[in-house]
Symmetry: C2
Subunit: 114 residues, 2 copies
DNA sequence: CGCATGTTTCGACGTTCATCAAAGCAGAAC
DNA sequence: GTTCTGCTTTGATGAACGTCGAAACATGCG
């Protein structure tokens, strides 16, 4: 309860049950970080590309999302830091792949953990 | 391909297949908006509370997330606008409920659509 | 009526974010 | 070696976000 406990003295309405914090603080932060990594149309499109092609050259991503190459690289770096994709440099080009297990874990958290 | 098509004249590396945009622009925006609605620890905790209690008084949420009441109201309004929760005023207090179907649709989008 | 309490909205402040131009790096081809 | 090309990083800028205090709104009680 916050300011006053209504149940005790007022006749009307019980307000609520104690109401638990539910999920742990750290878990909430971790999940929020993952959601933040997907909270941009450009990054959603990138993930979609990667999931459907299982390997995409960085040079194609910029044009596919309609942004500059620098911006594309920024988004890719962000997704990489979130553990959602991996990129390996082969010769001149960098090829990116999605990590489907990571997405699956988000999906699972949404339906069960949370 | 972006600037130059490597396949034609250089001997090494084919760069990649054409690489399609995959998901539609509007879908990407819609999904990103939903993720943005969950991209904050406070809102994740709120959703968790609501899913586990199926009805929580607004007065409990502020303390549960450790923020001021004004901030809690802001987050709740944001979640409501995203269609993730509903709140109805009964007498003095406002009771919030999660909309599980909405979360399920996000989960489904992650595993199939995307 | 007026007063007290729960909730939302408003205004402001500091932080974070998306974006691009330009500079810096790393390979490949000459 | 130099030069070219793809990618990343840096710097800067404008927008969006989270946060809170204060004001406004709504409702119940006396």
């Amino acid at each position: 309860m916050t300011t006053t406990s209504p149940t005790q003295l007022t006749i009307l309405s019980a307000c609520c049950s104690p109401a638990e914090p539910a999920v742990a603080d750290e878990s909430a932060e971790a999940l929020a970080s993952l959601f933040k990594a997907l909270a941009d149309p450009a990054r959603v499109k990138i993930m979609s590309m990667l999931l459907n092609a299982d390997e995409v050259c960085a040079c194609d991503i910029a044009t596919a999302i309609g942004k500059s190459q620098a911006t594309a690289s920024h988004h890719l770096g962000l997704l990489r830091k979130a553990g959602l994709v991996t990129g390996d440099k082969r010769g001149t080009w960098v090829y990116y792949r999605a990590i489907p297990e990571r997405l699956a874990s988000i999906s699972a958290a949404l339906t069960t953990d949370l």
